[in-house]
Symmetry: C2
């Protein structure tokens, strides 16, 4: 009991993000118990808001419904919606039904936007200003309504139809002479985000312009809300994780804290997918069993030919898919990159091919065997370069995330083609096999 | 000539980040020409500051030195230092010598910090406030000195020895009653960054707390400068790129716009490193040439055994190294993860091993061959799981970035062990080979 009180006192002295870190280490039931005690001291809302929504949802499910809906009503709407999104439908509906009609309406509107869109990221808590105000009037107006605005580092000017006219920096308003008109302070060609923009392109806008917040508008350019950079940092981190996982065939849902059973269920399908592609490559080798029996050296070297193609091709796939994720790849560049990668493959293929051919010759003393290996290596690296550019472009054309499945396609091709080429060229050139 | 004027007019109407994008597409000489024209209209500084420093450095080298130093003196010091860092020493020295003594001193001080440390990221342009001021006095003080401060969305309170006392939000100052003392507005337990903290840990602080700016302090807690979130976004993006590239053995210096010749020089060493590991695996296969000659089926299936180990192990490496990059892996978790990964490998290994064993049996009709393949697969997947945890931890222990070289080590082990195990177990169990 004393230990509990000590923990509570310690948590009350911490910042919400630090409390969230402690809560994430506890079981859902224990965390709900702690949240209940923090709630009685008025310190539950910020800590829950700082947790990952998929973690806080589990905690909220264990909370008394009345307490949960009170916490929800105190959260910033963008955080509340992220949390609601992770809850089972019936819990979501019950919590919404306990809120004031106004709060429930705000959250229901936000829930309609996909979580990975600008609408899903934005907070509707923005206080629009009229350009007819002076700097001092704007300060007074914001002072009255500061509870309603998530961020007032920027303010937004709108016309009578709520259409966005421009952006005002709170710094400029605060530091201007008090009687200066907002007309003189507004920046009119403000960057804004369409409400249906996907989260990735929103992140790229923040990355490019370095703003702390951007206004969100509908198709008629009416101001709907604001996205702040802290929400975008989460998007960027999660996208980087997804891309890294995708290239290694790790399920995007996994993390260090995923349970044994979840990891098992998530990874097994990927391992079976990999197995299917490995068996396809083995099938090609199987076709040439007779060839191998006559020249076992081919079995020794075939992994090198296939593997180097895979390595070189994955370099290309990685650079192309990362360029796509950062929004740097346009159509014109695509063709230039294809030419560049093929040229690289030819030069690298000649060098690597000659090296492996020479080693094979030194090992077996058969010059023709060395030639077979060199040529197969060169050709496989050219195929790998073409595949490394074409596969991600094709995958993106089909509307899938290229970083997630391009790798599997590419290595399947470099294995199958690498083995096939080696044995076919050996059959053509090696007298021992004919 | 008219075309040039048209381009200039178009650029003058764009935001600096958009101008930077156009400049990045031009050759250094062309870009310097455009910068010269923008300079005459007073619009060069922001555009250059928005470019990647490694790109803008090439442009600045082509500029008239007098013009370049004038632009440098107008830049925010943190941007100026990033640019200077990329210039050849003699150009750097010449430009510094043309600045005012005061400006040169500021930049020389900043250049002493490593670029990937808090000191390298910070701007020294911060206006410290005294807590004896009222809100209105603070506004007046900031209004006078607003040119000197990179960001005044937060202000920082210091004592007479310049030690950081706390953080003040400009929003709170501006919206407070004018006669309110800063004592009532300051947040005293402010998060601050030690000047020697590395960029990765700075990025994690921003990610965790969601602030727009953090104060940088020295060992005596004296305020040195401020880091803003836009600089940290660059750090996060570059680190994600490096980690993605590392896992695929792509040199971290590369991007979509890297020249043919640079790509060639950068990638070839990686390809030869991969080749060395592939040859090590081939060497193991070569030892068992006689075994293969007696049972060619082993050559067909050996790639599946080695490849599945590599795939499963890379899943583990990827999750561990990403967890390390996000700062989520502590010592206690390390042991728990090792146990979890080994347990997963046993279950997955039994399932995948049984599948491949059954397929081998159906193909060749030899039950013992199926058993050999199953056992080798299971054991290789267990080795892969252990390697997948131990290798990144060991690489980090040696002070290297685990995401950059763990993959090569792991696949070398899974290849060598996979081949070796398969042939050794075959020799033990298969009567045809004995």
């Amino acid at each position: 009991m004393d230990e509990r009180k000590g923990l509570l006192r310690e948590l009350l002295s911490k910042k919400p993000a630090d409390v969230a870190e402690v809560l994430a280490e506890l079981s859902d039931g224990q965390a709900a118990e702690v949240i209940h005690r923090l709630f009685l001291r008025g310190a539950a809302t910020d800590a829950l808001a700082e947790m990952d929504p998929d973690e806080s949802a589990g905690v909220v499910e264990k909370l008394d419904r009345h307490e949960a809906s009170t916490i929800l009503s105190r959260m910033n709407p963008d955080d509340a919606v992220d949390l609601l999104d992770e809850l089972p439908d019936e819990v979501q509906q019950e919590l919404l039904s306990r809120l004031s009609r106004e709060d429930a309406q705000v959250l229901t509107n936000l829930l309609a936007y996909p979580p990975d869109s600008a609408g899903g990221l934005m907070s509707p808590e923005v206080v629009p200003l009229s350009l007819s105000m002076t700097a001092q009037e704007a300060i007074d107006f914001l002072r009255q309504r500061q509870e309603e605005a998530e961020t007032v580092y920027y303010a937004y000017a709108v016309d009578d139809a709520q259409k966005l006219l421009g952006v005002l920096s709170l710094r400029d308003i605060a530091l201007a002479p008090p009687d200066r008109s907002l007309h003189d302070l507004v920046v009119r060609d403000a960057v804004s985000v369409p409400v249906d923009a996907d989260a990735e392109s929103v992140a790229r806008l923040f990355d490019k312009y370095g703003y702390f917040a951007l206004p969100v508008v509908d198709a008629e350019h009416r101001l709907l809300g604001v996205i702040t950079v802290d929400d975008v940092i989460d998007v960027m981190r999660n996208e980087a994780t997804e891309d890294i996982y995708g290239l290694a065939s790790v399920p995007t849902e996994e993390g260090l804290d995923t349970s044994w059973w979840s990891s098992f269920r998530l990874r097994l399908p990927w391992l079976y997918a990999r197995l299917a592609t490995a068996l396809a490559a083995a099938f090609v080798v199987g076709i040439f069993e007779q060839t191998i029996a006559k020249a076992v050296a081919l079995a020794v070297i075939m992994g090198v030919v296939a593997g180097q193609g895979g390595s070189a091709g994955m370099q290309t796939v990685t650079i192309i898919t990362r360029g796509m994720a950062l929004g740097e790849l346009d159509r014109k560049k695509g063709w230039r990159l294809l030419a560049k990668e093929v040229a690289l493959a030819i030069v690298n293929g000649v060098l690597i091919g000659a090296t492996v051919g020479a080693i094979t010759y030194l090992w077996k003393g058969e010059i023709l065997l060395g030639v077979v290996v060199s040529v197969a290596m060169l050709l496989n690296m050219i195929i790998a370069a073409i595949g490394g550019v074409v596969i991600p472009v094709a995958v993106r054309g089909l509307g899938r995330d290229p970083s997630h499945i391009s790798g599997i396609f590419l290595t399947t091709i470099t294995d199958v083609v690498g083995f096939g080429l080696l044995f076919l060229i050996a059959r053509l050139l090696l007298p021992a096999i004919r």
